[in-house]
Amino acid sequence: VTAKLRWRRAEGADRFQCAAYIGKRLSPAMLSWCAGEGEALMADDSLPRRRFLLGAGLAGTAMAAGIAEPLEAQQPTASPPAAASPQEPEPFVTLTALETAFIVAAVDTLIPADELSPSGSDCGVAIFIDRQLGSAWGGGGKMYRAGPFVKGKPEQGYQLALTPREYFAAGIAAANAWARKTYGKDFDRLATADRVAALKAMEGGKAEFEHFDARAFFGQLLSITMAGFFADPIYGGNRDMIAWKMIGFPGLPATYADKIDNYRDKRYVAAPQSIADFS
């Protein structure tokens, strides 16, 4: 849904503020929220009616066309959509079964279930990693991949030819080979205490993978796990905004100009909202 908004009269800061939204596309929920903020944002009721009708006629293409729709026509979102049920099976589209087992075991060890949150995979972190590795980023998007490939100094950063997808495939295979050598089975088959010990060995540089840097791999694994736990839930992790609730991060819309002074040394609590709640 698109709304073309116009700033009516410049009468102080709130009125000026809505100038920022002129011509911008807003979701119904965002529009509703904007309208509630000091009535700064008003639908452009001066727009010819025929443009609205044209927009209505275009139905699904209204968004792309940038056609106005009066505020009255907007239905504010009654409540955030129900969170995806953790029980509902979600297909892995990038990782193999063996890789999935490793990632699930790893994220559940890095983020174990306790009173603060469900386990990493129950929060969607494994699904997040699967989707990220299948994304443009996972395929090496925006990455310089011309050779020659030379092992540089650590100061020169990542110098492998592998995309993130390829890197994780190689890293998981190397980690499992090391786990079999050290413990007699793949990482995901280990008991919890051994998984913890194995990850600590990788983190501390004590695990020696064949032809792969175990410490660097652990760093990448931890990094993508944390991204999945704390990113907006639209990416599959942080299910039900559980990680945000855990630390007290309020999510969207994150407009605090009128709250800073009232919450000095006082905790600001809000039921978190995510991008999906404003879509």
Binding site: G12, A13, R15, F16, Q17, A19, A20, G23, K24, R25, L26, S27, M30, T109, L110, I111, P112, D114, L116, S117, G140, K142, M143, Y144, A146, V150, G152, K153, E155, Q156, G157, Y158, Q159, V196, E203, L222, M226, A227, F230, A231, D232, M246, I247, G248, F249, P250, G251, L252, P253, A254, T255, Y256, A257, I260, Y263, R264, D265, R267, Y268, F278
Partner: protein, 589 residues
């Protein structure tokens, strides 16, 4: 064979802050101007919107607005005898791409350099004796003074709707501002933005030690404001997502919001996006650049755009690379110290840390990079360097920049990084810490420079620019001194715990540190030691005007954009008032 296009009065290469300013000033003077931008057209109505921008993964982690390294990158090594390797994905610094350039995702800290910074070599010689400056320290005086630039600083402040507290108004000290700043002709356009709990505690602690705390100046309007272009800016919402992201409130200054709407409406201006300028066409005998050659990335066609004036306003690396590829100016040779193009690459020497206050509630997600207080007591020549063994300095700040959940969490050193213990620790400390930063200068060293890489090429087959850089003994000493001073203030804040980190010995291309890269096409009074004159006109091509931080002779202890914008207006005035009347060198060597 490139298709030759119709001649145009002026072509601008790179549509970041300085490119947009030059395009605006030249069209205002009646010229027809083409703006060339190799990235996307970043349209405010489309992209600077909620809820899109509240996506830390897209913008902060995956670097949505940054240069595409698959098309073009730089190579890096610490020293001239090492093998440079390509930066495969940016880390330490993050140049932007697309209309607005790095001016979209910056934190918008908006400083001026000190009057003494502009004549730093002379000042050091006068105060400590010429022999006190090491032979390897290739610092130079600027060819322009603070007083000359002041009206242009002032204009850029207004374009950006800068929020701050004056400390020196036309020579009169003003309480609450920075007492060390150069005289300002006018107050900041907007009052300072709100102060967070941590920065307020920092101010109190710093003042208790006899230092002079003040709110940092920031190009984020604290209230509604109409800039000199007639564009209405919104007020900062303290969303905490500013860094690496655009602003939906039109409060953080960007070329896209603060200037481009006027340019887009001007029939004398034409914007071409996704066009990659591969070379400047140089007529060495005539000392002119006759135009530029570019590839249209959407069609694969190559064009030559002839132009009367060429404005080179890409990033530091691109500016230097274009000159080296075109053979304009003598390439710098670190062995002899001769040559100028690529000389005096400098970075920003930042260090800092965090303090933790058990049980306190700082609401760290409410913030802005400019929600900061600072002291300037240990910047530039604001303090005596006798016996210290180094020159330079920087401001020391406490910042509440916002704490998005993926990257905005910090833990006391020694706490677990994962597992059940980590969950408890990150939950305990997320809302109860504040951060510090020292914005150290980098005084040029003869071994830190740029040239063309002999091996690696970009997607259009051109040699990549090669960066040779490492932190110097001088700058490490300076930085440790600033961190020591910072520690005294942090202790006075009485935290439960604090961690401060000195910089590692070697500069490393990961993790992120600062996007303040400078030098390579430096400005000066002598063509033997500089690439452009005081009006940013190339000594070796009188119709070529080079913009941006690549003209800084060295980097001082402040964020560079305020000075970059002032220089753009200064240069534009020289073009429109002097050069157009009599095209030719504006300074005779």
């Amino acid at each position: 064979m490139a298709t030759r296009l119709k001649d145009i009065d002026a072509v601008v290469v790179g549509m970041g802050f300085s490119g947009a300013i030059l395009a605006r000033e030249l069209t205002k003077a009646g010229l027809n101007v083409v703006g060339l931008e190799r990235g996307a057209d970043r349209n405010v109505a489309e992209e600077f919107t909620l809820s899109r921008l509240r996506d830390e993964l897209r913008y902060v982690v995956r670097l949505e607005l940054m240069q595409d390294n698959s098309t073009d990158t730089i190579t890096f090594r610490n020293a001239p005898d090492e093998l440079a390797l390509p930066i495969r994905r940016f880390g330490a610094f993050l140049p932007g791409e697309g209309v607005g350039g790095t001016g979209i995702h910056w934190g918008a800290l908006h400083w001026r350099f000190l009057p003494t910074d502009f004549r730093i070599k002379s000042v050091l010689s006068e105060k400590y004796g010429a022999k006190a400056i090491p032979d390897t320290m290739s610092i130079q005086d600027w060819p322009v003074s603070y007083d000359e630039l002041e009206p242009f600083y002032d204009h850029f402040d207004k374009l950006c709707g800068v929020s701050g507290q004056a400390g020196n108004l036309r020579g009169t000290k003003v309480a609450g501002g920075n007492p060390f700043e150069g005289p300002r002709s006018e107050h900041y356009p907007n009052k300072p933005i709100k102060t967070g709990t941590g920065p307020a505690m920092f101010s109190a602690a710093a003042n208790s030690l006899g230092y002079h705390a003040f709110p940092v100046p920031v190009a984020t309007s604290s209230a509604a404001y109409v800039n000199p272009e007639g564009i209405t800016l919104g007020r900062c919402e303290y969303c905490g997502h500013c860094n690496r992201t655009a602003c939906e409130s039109n409060a953080k200054a960007s070329p896209n919001v603060n200037l481009m709407p006027v340019l887009r409406a001007d029939p004398r201006f034409e914007l071409r996006t996704r066009v990659f300028v591969t070379r400047l066409v140089y007529d060495k005998a005539a000392k002119r650049v006759t135009g530029v050659v570019y590839t249209d990335m959407q069609t694969g066609e190559e064009y030559e755009q002839p132009a009367g004036i060429v404005v080179l306003s890409s990033f530091v690396f691109g500016n230097t690379q274009q000159l080296l590829l075109a053979g304009i100016g003598e390439p710098y040779d670190p062995r002899t110290g001769k040559g100028v193009v690529g000389k005096n690459y400098c970075y920003q020497f930042e260090a800092g840390g965090e303090a933790f206050f058990e049980g306190r509630e700082f609401n760290p997600f409410m913030g802005a990079p400019g929600m900061a207080t600072a002291i300037d007591d240990f910047n530039g020549e604001n303090f005596d360097h006798s016996g210290l063994g180094f020159f330079g300095g920087g401001y020391i700040a406490c910042t509440n920049a916002g704490a998005p959940p993926i990257g905005g969490r910090v833990l006391p050193r020694g706490e677990p990084r994962w597992g059940a213990g980590w969950k408890q620790a990150t939950t305990k400390w997320y809302r109860s810490n504040t951060r510090f930063n020292t914005q150290g200068s980098v005084y040029a060293h003869r071994d830190n420079f740029m040239d063309l890489d002999p091996t690696y090429k970009d997607a259009l087959g051109r040699p990549l620019i090669r960066l040779t850089y490492n932190g110097t003994e001088n700058d490490h000493k300076m930085s440790r001194y600033l961190v020591d001073k910072l520690e005294s203030v942090v202790k006075a804040m009485n935290p439960t715990h604090y961690d401060l980190q000195n910089r590692p010995k070697n500069f490393t291309i990961v993790p992120y540190q600062s996007t303040h890269n400078t030098g390579g096409t430096i400005a000066g009074s002598d063509p033997k030691s500089s690439v452009v004159n005081r009006y940013l006109q190339a000594w070796d091509a009188h119709n070529l005007f080079i913009q941006g931080a690549s003209v800084f002779p060295q980097q001082h202890g402040y964020n560079p954009t305020g000075t970059l914008g002032a220089l753009a207006y200064w240069s534009a005035k020289a073009i429109t008032e002097q050069y157009l009347k009599s095209p030719g060198p504006l300074v005779h060597a």
